[in-house]
């Protein structure tokens, strides 16, 4: 691989803060989302009939009233699925339509589970009719909470364990035992609804031979294709899935879009008519998975500086009724149970709990955030016990910087952290923001403010980049050069607002030496680039950028060879300049080169491929290198609480984040700001609330509160870390940025906790749980005051 920064100075190539490629279309209402595509004549609309109990069996089912409703064309149950009635992405444990009309039966695993499917002439008719089914159930006791599942032993597989003894060979319990001091605690962390602004939607268009073309809002078109094919008993080649853009994904369309696509496909298959399903927002929130809620127990042994000697962490995650991606998510929670800290002797045990609730799924950070909240709580509580600034304790535990050779760089999963720049980032941020002085000032000011209390916290992030399921770390691309010199770009990554398309187009522009406007970005389609991985794990631009680079390199090699032959110069004398090529002494316009190459019958189309190097993972031994590299960042947050109501505000946030050599600084800053605010929502106002019968009662924006405009930090200073540079040979030495910034929001939780502590004159540890709603904050205020 050649020097990464050798690129001709094209317009809007890499490292330029180009705006989103669709920005003009977004603001003009001209960007086309799946529901905006022109509707073909004869389009049918689908709606699910949903279960109204959390657990039990169907004993009788009468769908005739549904059939008789105006506008209804078909009512489909498990009986109508020609292939496998399952949409599970990893395990085949996810029944698609739970009810069988013929057998008058079906098992119900959660309140809101799809039982059957209605197809009608209008969406309204389908939704109305879906409510008319007569269903009788034999209810069974439901396992709803983490506590209930632990009690009942309701889990997927056996608990997974990751452990490493310290240099003296002591395991974690022994190291804890031998440490000068010990402390244990528990933290509860709520889940999170994605609340992508565009809900789940798909439209299926039947073609000849029973083929289907599906427009889906989906982060994983290739998986959607396979699931639909299995469901209908077709080969994958009969199903094409296309995704131009999503109105937000955040992990919520990594597997959860498949159910909607499957429904549209089944209707189209059974009726021969085009079909669309767009979930109503309430149904979307009820029927699709969310971020896993966790309870984390920890016990640590440490010394007077707060340095940890040994730690045991038990992570309990609510997975819901089916496995979905829970194993990988819970693994990642374990991989981030250390965050930036070297844990000399460590044991992490993970319980993946099966409950009668919707199946939890991927969400930005993919378990990492929960794992990190656990260790950050331990750091904070240890500092409190020692009367130290939590930042001092955090610093005392950081992994060694690169090449320090201090023996503190091995993770709990035996990977060496070779790129740990967190100490430098934190020092820089603390200095820039006057963290220490402000901490003192806030404490002083709190003494004279009886009602409103303020708090401050600085927390770091280290986030592992790569899919921890190693085979997923592959990507493909397809690049065409047309005869007029314009370029069409396609790859396996999907655009959900994260700016992947523009970044990859910038890569293509720089690789080919063309201005960006010569490169056209096109919809992701399974018939262009096959067998792709989900656009997830922050890996989109790392992997697809590299795949595109590979394709461009092939094209350039062909063109170089052609030019050398054609103009009779050595290949070394062919140089790609901006929009031109130097061939010997001549300079030839790109268009002229392409035309000449075409006439000489040179192929102007290439595929590209990339497989992330270096990574490997032995799950049984819990050992390996699951990550290619780590991304780092840190944030200082200042927040205030009202000790009479528990309300809170985030006052000021300062972020310093390492994105390596940014492919597009504007896009990266957008990811940081958006990720941070989304993280604060998770940790403050976003509360999922199930009633005793297992019904989710916060199933609409009226009750589920994501941050609104005025919840953004009043003062927000963000900077990309100037020294950032990926040690690994990633695309242009950039680093992934999609997920890591979300975890910067953990600083907000700790700032709130610091403010609560002030209410009790810093005498008792607040033990603030997430989400820190007004109610939880007020409860914590009561606790610290009672002491």
């Amino acid at each position: 691989m050649d020097a990464p920064d050798h690129a001709p100075p094209v317009r809007d190539g890499v490292h330029v803060p180009r705006r989103h490629d669709s920005a003009e279309k977004h603001v003009a209402g001209r960007a086309i989302y799946a529901d905006d595509a022109p509707e073909p004549p004869g389009l049918l609309h689908g709606a699910f009939g949903l279960a109204t109990i959390a657990h039990g069996r169907i004993t009788a089912l009468d769908l005739d009233p549904v059939r008789a409703a105006p506008g209804v064309v078909a009512v489909l149950s498990a009986d109508d699925v020609p292939g496998e009635n399952d949409t599970g992405p990893v395990a085949r444990d996810e029944v698609f339509l739970a009810a069988s009309e013929a057998a008058q039966s079906g098992d119900v695993h959660f309140h809101g589970q799809p039982l059957f499917l209605v197809a009608a002439e209008s969406r309204e008719a389908a939704r109305r009719a879906a409510r008319l089914a007569q269903v009788s159930y034999a209810e069974e006791p439901a396992v709803l909470s983490i506590a209930q599942a632990m009690e009942a032993g309701s889990r997927f597989g056996t608990p997974y364990r990751m452990a490493r003894p310290d240099a003296e060979g002591r395991d974690a319990p022994q190291a804890i035992e031998g440490a000068p001091m010990r402390l244990s605690g528990r933290v509860e962390i709520g889940g999170q609804e994605h609340f992508y602004l565009e809900g789940q939607v798909a439209m299926a268009l039947p073609g000849e031979d029973g083929d289907l073309h599906i427009l889906s809002s989906n982060q994983h078109p290739s998986e959607c294709q396979l699931i639909v094919a299995h469901l209908l008993g077709l080969s994958a080649h009969a199903v094409t899935v296309e995704v131009r853009r999503m109105g937000g994904g955040f992990g919520g369309k990594e597997t959860q879009g498949n159910q909607t696509a499957a429904a549209a496909a089944l209707i189209a298959h059974c009726t021969g008519r085009p079909a669309k399903l767009r979930l109503d927002r309430d149904d979307d929130i009820v029927t699709t998975g969310k971020r896993h809620d966790f309870v984390i127990d920890w016990e640590a042994g440490f010394d007077a500086t707060g340095r940890i000697h040994g730690i045991c962490v038990t992570q309990m995650a609510r997975c819901g009724w089916s496995l979905d991606l829970s194993n990988a998510i819970c693994d990642r929670a374990m991989f981030h149970a250390d965050n930036c800290y070297y844990l000399p002797a460590v044991e992490i045990v993970s319980h993946r709990l099966r409950t009668n609730t919707v199946s939890n799924t991927a969400f930005r950070g993919f378990g990492g955030p929960q794992g990190m909240v656990g260790i950050e709580r331990a750091m904070d509580e240890i500092a409190f016990a020692l009367g130290l600034d939590p930042l001092a304790v955090r610093r005392a535990n950081f992994y060694d910087p690169p090449d320090a050779g201090g023996g503190r760089s091995t993770t709990p999963y035996h990977m060496e952290v070779e790129d740990c720049v967190i100490a430098e980032i934190v020092d820089d941020l603390a200095a820039r923001t006057g963290y220490e002085a402000r901490r003192g000032e806030i404490r002083a000011a709190n003494a004279s403010s009886p009602v409103i209390k303020r708090g401050i916290a600085l927390t770091p992030v280290k986030f592992g980049i790569s899919f921890t399921t190693s085979f997923l770390n592959q990507a493909g691309a397809l690049v065409h050069i047309y005869r007029d010199g314009s370029v069409m770009l396609n790859h396996g990554g999907t655009e959900m607002g994260q700016g992947l398309f523009i970044k990859v187009a910038q890569v293509a522009a720089s690789e080919l030496g063309l201005d960006l406007d010569r490169v056209k970005i096109t919809a992701t389609r399974t018939d262009k680039v096959p067998n792709t991985s989900a656009t997830a794990a922050s890996s989109g631009s790392d992997m697809n950028g590299m795949a595109v680079r590979d394709a461009c390199a092939k094209l350039k090699a062909r063109l170089r060879g052609f030019a050398a032959r054609h103009w009779k110069v050595a290949e070394a004398e062919v140089e790609f300049l901006a929009n031109r090529v130097r061939v010997g002494r001549k300079t030839i316009a790109w268009e002229a080169l392409i035309e000449a190459a075409y006439l000489a019958r040179v192929s102007l189309s290439a595929t590209g491929f990339y497989a992330t190097p270096k990574i490997h993972w032995d799950r049984d031994a819990a050992r390996g290198r699951p990550f290619y590299y780590f991304a780092y960042g840190a944030a200082v947050t200042e927040a205030a609480i009202d000790t009479l109501t528990g309300e809170s505000r985030i006052l000021r946030v300062d972020i310093l984040h390492d994105v390596g050599r940014s492919l597009n600084p504007a896009v990266d800053l957008g990811q940081i700001e958006g990720g941070f605010v989304q993280g604060t929502g998770w940790l403050t106002s976003e509360e999922l609330w199930w009633d005793d019968t297992g019904r989710l009662r916060t199933h609409a924006p009226s009750t589920y509160k994501i941050p609104a405009c005025s919840d953004r930090p009043r003062v927000l200073n963000m900077a990309l870390w100037e020294k950032g540079m990926n040690r690994e040979l990633t695309i242009r030495r950039s680093k992934a940025v999609g997920e890591p910034p979300l975890m910067l929001a953990i600083s907000a939780l700790h700032a709130l906790s610091d403010a609560v502590a002030a209410a009790g004159d810093y005498r008792r540890y607040p033990g603030l749980e997430a989400p820190a709603t007004p109610e939880r904050i007020l409860a914590a205020v009561e606790r610290v005051r009672d002491g």
């Binding site: 602004l197 565009e198 607002g497 109501t645 809170s648 007004p774």
Partner: protein, 486 residues
């Protein structure tokens, strides 16, 4: 008069006669007009993805431009009004409007799905007021959710739009709007389609008469409740009677020391007057929903719906408000607290309408404190609302009316707590006694918004906060109010 719904859509007159009266503007735009720039994010007025510009001529004949949620707006409510969608903003030659350009250049969109809605909210403000401060932008945009950007770039764009050249095409269009609107009928509407009727009288007598004759009809004002019954519960009544065209119901009057608010006065219209007399009431109104809902939701609807968590009733009850009702030509007036009988039950006969609410203007020594607590600061439904009207004299409480929302099945006065204060010196001890008495007044419920325990504790603490605010002005008692204005 039987006839079609007559409106202006993006500058063109459109008469609609063929859709059921409960068809929402959003569905109609997207499915019938092919205008897919307006998005559906929730279909319940909460996310703002469906925001459009709504124009009408105000009582003074001046053009009013306000944001509205198309998703919960029954189409016949556009009779006599103009709708502007995102497709209309750019110049005919394709140049972007300054609000669009500022959003695009300022990285205000990521996935772009919320973007048309934000653009429309910003456009409405651009047409009506100067460059917004960040606090003002918070108020203007509280009804628009974005899950991607974190809002910073959007707020910046709302301001930056004012640095760009004026869009002459848009100014010309605004200048022409009153003439266009004047071509629309001003008479009553009687619209029928699909066997269902939508009646929009223009006089109070007609309205009262229509309601009395159709006791089963649904009275409709701003549709910010009824619209959700339509989209979420498939509500499709045989007859709807809309109050929105009755000029007499849209009046705000002051005389003889009394403020009269017509039932169809919107939050947006009432806000300034309420804020002028009772500053805290003004702040409370600013925290009701977002700009789109405040433009349509009415004071009368907020009372008539009987909700225990509506924000207007506690404040009005604390002020000693009275409610005016009318059944045919029978008029009556009751105290507002007597209207709320029990959860889901009000003192209103079928066919009877709410016509106005009156409140005595503040007398000497009276101060109203309003304290809304919700999970999220803006655009959230109340967990607990405490509205306290106290008249203090020589350090003693002469009069106290303490009204709460979220504490019972109805908005309700805390009589025991009031008694603990009235006639007593206004001290911390008395306030504590009043707080303790709240457990005689209320036994709140636990739900997804808050637990019973939290509600009670906050209800008590709010009395203390109110006391601190009245007695120790230097003490900071509220987190800096984020938004500015309605």
């Amino acid at each position: 008069m039987q006839g079609p719904v007559c409106m202006i859509l993006n500058g063109q007159r459109v008469d609609v006669a063929d859709v059921p009266p409960t068809t929402t503007l959003l569905a109609w735009l997207r499915e019938r007009r092919g205008l897919t720039g307006t998005k559906e994010g929730c279909s319940e007025g909460d996310c703002g993805a469906c925001t459009v510009g709504l124009r009408e001529l105000g009582p003074d004949g001046k053009l009013v431009t306000m944001p509205a949620c198309a998703c919960i707006l029954p189409l016949p409510m556009l009779h006599g009004r103009e709708i502007v969608t995102v497709e209309r903003l750019a110049a005919p030659d394709g140049r972007l409007h300054p609000v669009q350009q500022a959003m695009a250049e300022g990285h205000g969109s990521q996935c772009g799905f919320c973007t048309p809605g934000f653009v429309m909210s910003m456009w409405c403000a651009y047409r009506s007021e100067p460059r917004p401060s960040p606090e003002r932008a918070d108020a203007l945009l509280a009804g628009n959710l974005c899950r991607c950007t974190g809002y910073g770039p959007i707020v910046a764009a709302a301001s930056a739009a004012h640095d760009l050249p004026r869009p002459e095409w848009d100014d010309d269009d605004a200048a022409a709007a009153p003439t266009r609107l004047a071509t629309l009928p001003t008479t009553a509407l009687d619209y029928e389609a699909d066997g269902r009727r939508f009646i929009a009288p223009v006089t109070l007598d007609e309205l009262a008469d229509a309601a009395a004759r159709n006791p089963d009809a649904t009275i409709l004002s701003g549709a910010t409740d009824v619209g959700l019954w339509i989209t979420k519960r498939h509500f499709a009544p045989a007859t709807i009677i809309w109050t929105g065209r009755v000029a007499g119901l849209r009046e705000l009057k002051e005389d003889d020391g009394t403020l009269t608010i017509g039932a169809a006065v919107t939050y947006r219209e009432a806000a300034a007057r309420l804020a002028a007399h009772w500053p805290d009431f003004g702040k409370l109104v600013a925290r009701i929903a977002g700009a789109q809902i405040r433009a349509l939701g009415t004071v009368g609807g907020n009372i008539a719906n009987g909700s225990p968590i509506g924000d207007m009733p506690p404040a009005l009850i604390a002020l000693g408000a009275r409610l005016q009702l009318r059944h045919g030509d029978k008029r009556r007036e009751i105290t507002l607290d007597d209207f709320f009988l029990d959860y889901g039950r009000q003192d209103r006969a079928p066919g009877e309408i709410v016509t106005a609410v009156t409140a005595p203007l503040p007398g000497k020594g009276l101060h109203l404190g309003c304290h809304k607590v919700s999970k999220r600061f803006d655009q959230d439904i109340t967990s607990v609302l405490g509205c306290f009207a106290l008249t203090l004299e020589d350090g003693h409480v002469r009069q106290a009316r303490l009204a709460y929302g979220g504490m019972a099945g109805v908005p309700k006065r805390a009589r025991a707590a009031e008694q603990a204060l009235i006639g007593q010196p206004y001290t911390r001890e008395q306030v504590d006694a009043a707080a303790a008495a709240l457990s005689d007044d209320f036994a709140p419920l636990t739900d997804m918004r808050a637990s019973a325990r939290y509600r009670m504790q906050v209800a008590q603490n709010l009395l203390l906060r109110d006391y601190l605010e009245r007695t120790t002005p230097g003490v900071e008692t509220r987190l800096a109010p984020a938004t500015e204005g309605v």
